[in-house]
Symmetry: C2
Subunit: 244 residues, 2 copies
Amino acid sequence: MNGENELVVGVIGGLGPEATLDFFGKVLIHSRAKTDQDHIHLVIENNPKTPDRNAAVAGTGMSPGPALARMAMALDRAGVDFIVMACNTAHAFEKDIRAATRKPFISLIDEVADEVRRTYPEARRVGLLAAQGCLDSRIYETAFSRHDIQSLQPEKSSQERFMRLLYRIKAGERGPDIRAGMRQLGEELVAGGADILIAGCTEVPLVLTSGENSKPLVDSTDVLARRCVSYARRLESLPVRLDS
Amino acid sequence: MNGENELVVGVIGGLGPEATLDFFGKVLIHSRAKTDQDHIHLVIENNPKTPDRNAAVAGTGMSPGPALARMAMALDRAGVDFIVMACNTAHAFEKDIRAATRKPFISLIDEVADEVRRTYPEARRVGLLAAQGCLDSRIYETAFSRHDIQSLQPEKSSQERFMRLLYRIKAGERGPDIRAGMRQLGEELVAGGADILIAGCTEVPLVLTSGENSKPLVDSTDVLARRCVSYARRLESLPVRLDS
């Protein structure tokens, strides 16, 4: 592999940090490198001080937009070639990132929708294990609808359980009740008609992996990590945005 | 914790990437955070394309100095407050980093020597599990001598075994023979008179942890991670360099 021709990946992270660590680890796994120099070059902006994304979408907290824009600008100044973000919900503020830099921003949401279409061409309904702000901003619903895929959400009380689990995971909990609770939420979506489950929040794969539910789980962190390696090595061209 | 007052840590990484991932994970553990916002802000420059440090010290390869300097400058431009490097051997090129930026550079080597003096005041001889370039450049020997601690190295053939293990770890190997081989090298240093073992290469703690040898092992990655959290939160002042 010729490092000279490879692209440098900028990562907006810290949302939360454990999810960024998980993303970094998955990039290394997908790189299948035999020497240091075979790995891809990443710059990771891990700013956990970014305001809570769910509170912002709900209108009860400050927007994370300015903090996300500052991370994008810092990555731009550091010399990255394209930017990704290891968080689903924060994509509700994607326009703040795109406004802050001319470097290409690769949407995790679009990559996941594309991955589902490629890997599961028969899928008609996906079940979203995602944070409230991610659901309320309809970012996955919009992306999947372009592929004629319907998005299913948990019932209101189940989604409240999801949010409690999410903040316990962010606090470092990984106990069996958390794992069982997340798996149960997945099964409820399957019972509601989901053909595929989406780990549409980067904290989900910290406690749930594919094979634990009765339908496949697509790990958004893993999809983004794999695509980053392909884009950095120019095995695939960066996606062109239709609306830009 | 008030994020406004905290310092942003810049990390020179990718030397190798698995060691940088290990460092990042240890920072998160030492942060003991209960929310995303409790974590510290890091910017990680993970450039694995940096030329091999051991070949450079041996005079058989290009200097990594310019690549390390470029990482330091990228971190500077990204807005970090101080810089650390998650690699021991590359500290042989520390002057290239210091020349590239006015941001404080915190030496992993000095932090480890200081940690040994604080934690093991009776230690007289440390055994170095470190790469050839780290030994040949005498960076640990110099730092420990300031604390009147003698540095012990493996015999020549043992050091050659160390180097073979090192490159297998960089290639992703973590098998029991690698772990046993590293533990054995530690025991040989203990037999030679070491009171304390130093995991003086960031690949060592990927296969060897304290408690496996008959003397304590000081993990340089863990020391740096812990100190970074303290410095970022201003629980300790950044060390002042005597020669600057």
